[in-house]
Symmetry: C2
Subunit: 426 residues, 2 copies
């Protein structure tokens, strides 16, 4: 009679969270990272429809453009989940720790953008000889296939840090230098990938409309992206402790968890406003906040203990949803699979080259390279932009999706394997 519109959301949450715990329990018993279990149960739930055409419960979550009310809400809770995850991961590092590995992170990120770009361009050059007929109808007749190669190169640049951060967290390795380098590099990567995508999109758009590329707008977006991070961290380190000093004097309850989440939401929103991923802002917020800032608060609990129950609720939704959105049927199209495998190999090798850029000695370069592999939702976002620009057709989109799936599924077990060797070496 009341008919709460939240009821279907509660039902899906029930299924998703119960499945997440089942999956992570099974994979932990197999000695694998819990996050892999969450991805796999999601993959099973989402693809049950292949077994029985009536099992369409999760289809609204798998639409290219989610519109169903409850699906929108689950999708938003998942996005909140990945923001909270990166905030939590940021909390486990400090700005000074990140600065220590800054040179390596920067070099890893630079190599991790350049190498996959060249390899992706190369694979596209080998597999795609001309602009596909189904997209050419939307484009000028003199549109060069080089634009598509450029775009695919850009798609391979970005690292999706969520998976790697979660695996390192599951394995208790977030405090290692390798983890700091990968996380720092992934954040710089997001900035660099954004710049590459902005530049390539501008070139492609210009060649579609026949206009000039605005060099000024490329410089502007680049400056915005780099500026955000430098300014956010610099201001954060100076201003945040002063503000928290005053907030600690308030009488109202729960100020510790609310003030830290407000900083997380603020920087996530600002990151989005300057064109970066929200998770970059969330990570920056976590980096800025340190346990010592809260010593004046009346709460006697540690900040990460306050955040953990919230992230325990939301983070699994993100990973189960990533699994649900994998369409197993895309693996069945053989014309797509060749290109997809080529891109996947380029994506993996491109990031392996990263490891060579680490300046510190005695670090595990293979683990660093493996940690940079997953493209996750960032790759899907790039593919979506290509679709919007009318240069990515259905087959190419499927190939990119398969590349994203494979890099995402390969990373947890591969990272687990490479990290397992540390025990023997050290």
């Amino acid at each position: 009679m009341h008919g709460d519109p939240l009821a279907p959301v509660l039902l899906i949450l029930l299924i998703v969270l119960a499945a997440a715990k089942l999956g992570s329990e099974i994979f932990e018993r197999l000695g694998q990272p819990a996050v892999l279990g969450e991805l796999i149960v999601g993959l099973v739930l989402g693809n049950l429809v292949l077994l029985n055409a009536d099992w369409t419960l999760f289809e609204p979550l798998r639409a290219a453009n989610v519109t169903e009310r409850w699906a929108l809400i689950i999708d938003s809770l998942a996005r909140l989940g990945v923001i909270l995850l990166l905030f939590e991961v940021g909390l486990e590092s400090t700005v000074s720790e990140m600065a220590k590995v800054g040179t390596s992170s920067l070099l890893v990120a630079l190599v991790g953008v350049i190498a996959p770009f060249i390899l992706g361009f190369g694979v596209s050059y080998l597999f795609i000889k001309e602009v596909p007929a189904d997209v050419l109808v939307h484009l000028p007749s003199d549109f060069s296939v080089m634009n598509i190669h450029l775009f695919i190169g850009a798609t391979l640049c970005a690292t999706s840090v969520g998976i790697t951060a979660r695996v390192l967290k599951d394995l208790g390795k977030l405090q290692t230098k390798e983890a700091k380098i990968v996380l720092g590099a992934a954040v710089i990567d997001d900035v660099l990938g954004l710049i590459v995508l902005a530049v390539v999109s501008a070139i492609v758009s210009a060649s579609i409309t026949g206009s000039e590329v605005g060099a000024l707008s490329l410089v502007r977006i680049t400056a915005m992206a780099i500026g955000f991070f430098v300014v956010a961290i610099a201001l954060g380190v100076v201003v945040v402790p002063r503000i928290l000093h005053y907030l600690a004097k308030l009488r109202t309850a729960g100020m510790m968890v609310i003030s830290s989440l407000l900083l997380c939401f603020l920087l996530s929103w600002l990151a989005d406003a300057v064109g970066l991923a929200t998770i970059v802002g969330a990570f920056a917020a976590g980096l800025i906040l340190e346990e010592v800032h809260f010593k004046e608060f009346k709460e006697t609990i540690h900040l990460h203990e306050l955040i953990r129950p919230i992230s325990t609720l939301f983070v699994p939704i993100f990973f189960v949803l990533m699994g649900i959105q994998v369409r197993l049927e895309t693996f069945g199209d053989s014309s797509v699979v060749g290109l997809a495998l080529g891109l996947t190999v380029a994506a993996i090798i491109g990031k392996q080259v990263c490891g060579l850029a680490v300046v510190e000695k005695q670090l595990d370069r293979v683990s660093i390279g493996v940690g940079m592999i997953p493209r996750g939702e960032v790759g899907l976002i790039f593919a979506g932009i290509g679709k919007a620009l009318n240069i990515v057709d259905g087959a190419l989109y499927s190939a990119i999706v398969i590349m994203v799936i494979l890099t995402t599924l390969i990373t947890p077990p591969a990272l687990k394997l490479t990290i397992a060797r540390w025990g023997r070496k050290r």
Copy 2:
């Protein structure tokens, strides 16, 4: 470039949470319950548009039918907030404690449904002499105005327990017998109010279509409602400890918070499925779970300490949103205000009669009556059903909204006042 659709949600969350903390800080310093501060800052935020027609940021949240994507998500987070609040309130009571005050709760609830029904019917009879012309066009010409009186009586029945629960929590009085009686009565009230509404809706529908009232369907919905609560609690007490005994053996992290939230979501969803409010299920889940059930879990923290950070994040969203949705301009229509004040007086006196039904001696009957006053979102839901049945027109809807606003705003300070007298009496 990424363009996270969550970004506008993060911005609104920032404003809403910061405003909530500002409001609760000011009201706590004034010696008032924090929740009143949250309602008032929400009221200010939502009505800024009256000062400046350009300040329309919150208008999508105030639409009769929320459709904007970010507003839908904020609305859902608020609904999750009130579910978590009632779950938390339920956690602070046990089934056996509720059973002790069961007779009083049942009597309070019965009187709290009958008295406001009669008074609401009476006020409607005094103010509304004929079916308003603007609704009569949708109805048969022989449609009796008695149907409207019946419907208004039903609208005054239900108690919205969220406000009272929060005030009692803010004042640290959840462990008093008065609190248990009010909470128990409010839950029973929801069941009774549902039955009254179902019966009245069926009578009104039948007189619109000229058909017979299905006595069988009335019996069915009544049985479902009562059955849910009895079965949920009985099964919960028997089954839940056994399931938790097994879950405690799992290796995956966070099982304590996830398993308790799963029970909360399950019963909330089931409550909705049998036609009750989701919050009734959430309260039942909290009642069933007791600290002792989790003694085998590896977490060393108390359950309520795990739930608190989550509720700290979500509960204020609900109360600020309730404030935002108050339209101050409805207070300006004098033809509406008379009826509204009549309904408000009926709503208040009707629930004051409740206090007389308490069988225990030496309890504060006035506080119990005051605690039952707020109609909150339940009143709004009833008004919405009336609109859907075409028997509630714009003026009557405004009058019901004003009644809901006044009963909601009066309760926190009134309860604070009546409870303050305890100190002198005891």
